[in-house]
Symmetry: C2
Subunit: 342 residues, 2 copies
Amino acid sequence: MHIVITGGAGFLGVRLARALLQRDALSLAGAAPRPLTRLTLVDRVAPPAALTQDPRVRVVTGELDALLTPDASGQTRAVPTDSDAVVHLAAAVSGECEADFDLGLRSNLDATRALLQTCRALGTRPLFVFSSSLAVFGHTPEQPMPAIIEDDTLPTPQNSYGTQKYMSELLVADCTRKGFVRGRNVRLMTVSVRPGRPNAAASSFLSGIVREPLAGQRAVCPVAPDTRVALSSPARTIEGLVRALEASDEDWGPRTALNLPALSTTAGDMVAALARVAGPEVAARVDWVADAGIARIVGAWPAGMNARRAARLGLRADASFDDIIRDHLRENPVPPAAAARP
Amino acid sequence: MHIVITGGAGFLGVRLARALLQRDALSLAGAAPRPLTRLTLVDRVAPPAALTQDPRVRVVTGELDALLTPDASGQTRAVPTDSDAVVHLAAAVSGECEADFDLGLRSNLDATRALLQTCRALGTRPLFVFSSSLAVFGHTPEQPMPAIIEDDTLPTPQNSYGTQKYMSELLVADCTRKGFVRGRNVRLMTVSVRPGRPNAAASSFLSGIVREPLAGQRAVCPVAPDTRVALSSPARTIEGLVRALEASDEDWGPRTALNLPALSTTAGDMVAALARVAGPEVAARVDWVADAGIARIVGAWPAGMNARRAARLGLRADASFDDIIRDHLRENPVPPAAAARP
């Protein structure tokens, strides 16, 4: 079995790759279990060496559109003809898309379309897992939205990233209906706590306000403490993606996107959890400095999900943000020097 | 005031052009009334001579993408820099899009995107009325849909045309949010009775089963008599498009699409109305010959609309299909020879 992951050197891509490589066998779309014999990681940069040392891992680096251009024999570097499944994680993030409308359309909509056309050209109807986002949902004073999102809630995106993700979902669904791919649209929640560095996502602070204080650094929370957010830990998020690869067509259900479960919490409660788990001196490293632009984007997102369809697939939300912080600490131990910092 | 209509030589384009030219003044988006001084009709072919004789009418013929390519001075032929509003009616129809997936994407999604980018480049935030379609809604045994569509019902398109229209709505909404255009998404119902010849739309027969028998010709109804459809007369449809041009931002409401009102009826009731209005010998010219492909597309569309938002704008559905047939006969008198045919 050969699986391709775009964005394979990113945080979720690397984590998904590890999860798949650890498994003895995978039941793609409910089929008989088969071992993963090849895993192609496509990204602009190479994934960590720990991953590339696995003989099953094939690394392809470059711009996605160039990697999707067929050579003289009709092969593309990103999606070889023996690919059984593609997990499309590569994307421009919300902050980038809001700053550069055309970049967002190219990186999110056009790239997804090109990837779908590449899969269609294979003629083998590969599984196609598309990582969409809770950012398809949004509200403003003029555009109401239910506080809790149901499986059939109408998405009314309030930023370009969410718009492009939703447009891509529709294209994946139609390519599935046409028999070009077997598409599965999965809406990821805001992932927290992400390790590493801040990125240009408007939601970046939702990891930063935990990660940086734990590492002895100050962090800015740009939204009000009562701002409610829908979160998922890295572990729960990867569970959702693996389930999208393994669920049978019947269990998966319609071509509309599946909302992953979310923990509904507030920025204030997140920092309170940090105080409980790591101590008040750590939580005191969060500075509350409002940023109207970020507050507008994040404040328009859903506060919670009633993810019934995901629940039927056995997927569940994290129990508490305290648990999420503890998981993060277990996976990312704090250097003693940082912990001791005032 | 300068208004551009793409698809300006088509049935709805010509009819909208006539309606606009007859008005002494138009209140674009609720602004103070101004006379229409120029009307650009963009299409592959020229509109009827009766229209082009009006000195205000400017005809631009060719492929839309070529007409949107700027010249050395940055002007495009389709959308001159003094354009106050664009009504985008040009599209590939449902049957074409289902037969040729790539043509549909180019003609519907890519063309709308290019037109939006052209309007954006003007820097004047023109009004942009996008004609979407009830085909954004669809159901299958696996994908439920409410029998009556509400303003916030989740579209789950079951054909490529509806998918491309819905993707375009989302792009229009985001370009409006970004301040590139003032977009208004209007979902048209199936228009019946269209005069003229059958086209490649899956819904073409919904005009043909009235128009052809009235003209003394036999017509095929490819769906079962109990197939329920949501229809609008040409007159009610044009009313909706004009209202989209004239409503104030406040009256218009959110950037999500407006469902126009529809008369909910069945193929059987349409033919019964034909018998009442024109006589049983005319209705007997309908042959019931099932076509599974057309039945699948049309059978997946909505049976009725609860168009509350449209009602608040003063828009109403046709009262009966009998009235629609009478309107059609008034506008398209039957030649005596055809009427006398057995």
